[in-house]
Subunit: 241 residues, 2 copies
DNA sequence: CAGTGGTCTAGACCACTCG
DNA sequence: GAGTGGTCTAGACCACTGT
């Protein structure tokens, strides 16, 4: 997973934080000490610490050191680009996926048009899946997987994990995404599928891109409002745009 | 604003992207060219490009170059730690603020307890403000500003911009925040203030920290569902935690 | 004062892209 | 093969923190 030195250092420190070897509120060894510990240059150590900084695991304080931040499950971000299968495994949920639709298309289906106006004539796979946890519906995912670059998708793959197929089988380099969270009134079908007791649902609209800036997936995720939770860690921007 | 070389380079490139001098879809000058252009080392140039990468302004492609990403207002993130006054200025909104409450307290008010259990006995300022745009209520902000570290707050300051006071007058170094987005049923008072037509509202719960890891502000922001919009840019995590 | 993180430089080698 | 970004090193000076 972590093939470069800086990533391995970051991974090692992250694991030690997770296991309490570096306790919340305490300070990591100094950069010079880490330099010796890992046999790396200071720049490499600093790159590793930068990753932990971005994740919100540590805070660097000039003249003092790198302090380990407290993180309960209330503060650790669930954002970023994570697949449902990954979340399920990480959080140890008892989740299942119900494949409601799988269809090859030559252009964007109607329900996507409202949110993805510019990309009408793209071929792809239309997939709809209901995520169920402990017998209760949580999320309705509508995906439009663009082809190219994705080929060879089957209902079986869609029922398991798209991301595992993309990354491990197709060797696609999933890189970044833009997400937008809205609250909308849904139609009767989604209302029933999610067993809502009112007409509002949270919808997360995502555009997903590969490292070469190719768009490969559009997603609409409808969440039950009472179960929706989005956690984020943010640092104050210094850049004016 | 940008006092170090890398930040100045990042700022300069960001401005050129904004003004279309570096067009979306095109490539920036190579790192070696930027090195000459700005009279900086390659490491410094790379640090600047890293900031633009984090912001989602560019994507780096090995062997090719740094590609300028397209960004409409639909893709540019409004997240991060930004004050309402800053947003108002940036987006050119016709916004006003109505100060509903300003009170010094010795412990956490009731309405905060539900979300901030661990921090009961903290002295601070209880502030409530209604954000109005074009005569329509948008957001109800409930703030609890901790004292220490914040002192000397007045209703007048609270009606304008807390952040300007924190950073410019008190010279506080605002650094990071954890945020959680939920959808909840609100009471009659909030229902009326936001002029809701149903009982659900989006609430954003924030804990805000200084660079020395001191907590200085707790915030509950209640949004009208029909006007709530949260935009985010995310890169795929490589780190397992 | 010694130790810390913040910044910057100069140079090196690698893997990748493209003609 | 030339050019690109990715990684890493060694060394330097600074500003800030503590004693």
């Amino acid at each position: 997973m972590a093939r470069v030195k800086a990533d391995m250092i970051a991974q090692d420190i992250a694991t030690k934080i997770k296991h309490g070897i570096y306790a919340a509120g305490s300070f990591l060894p100094s950069e010079n000490q880490l330099t010796e510990l890992y046999g790396a240059s200071r720049a490499t150590v600093r790159k590793a610490l930068g990753e932990l900084l971005d994740l919100g695991l540590i805070q660097k304080i000039k003249g003092k050191g790198s302090k380990v931040l407290r993180l309960d499950r209330y503060t650790f971000p669930l954002s970023g680009i994570t697949s449902f299968a990954e979340l399920n495994r990480k959080l140890g949920m008892n989740a299942t996926t119900e494949l409601l639709k799988f269809k090859e298309q030559t252009k964007l289906p109607m329900n996507f048009e409202r949110y993805f106006e510019e990309e009408k004539d793209l071929a792809g796979y239309e997939i709809e899946r209901l995520r169920v946890i402990d017998g209760e519906p949580y999320v309705l995912d509508q995906d439009y997987v663009l082809s190219p670059p994705v080929t060879g998708l089957t209902p079986d793959i869609a029922a398991k994990s798209l991301y595992a197929y993309f990354e491990q089988d197709l060797q696609l380099d999933i890189s970044y995404a833009t997400k937008e969270v809205n609250v909308i009134k849904v139609d009767q079908r989604i209302h029933d599928l999610l067993q809502l007791d009112q007409e509002l649902a949270v919808v997360v609209i995502s555009r997903n891109y590969l490292a070469d800036t190719t768009e490969f997936q559009l997603t609409l995720s409808y969440h039950r409002p009472d179960r929706f939770r989005f956690v984020d860690f943010a640092r104050r921007q210094k850049l004016n745009f």
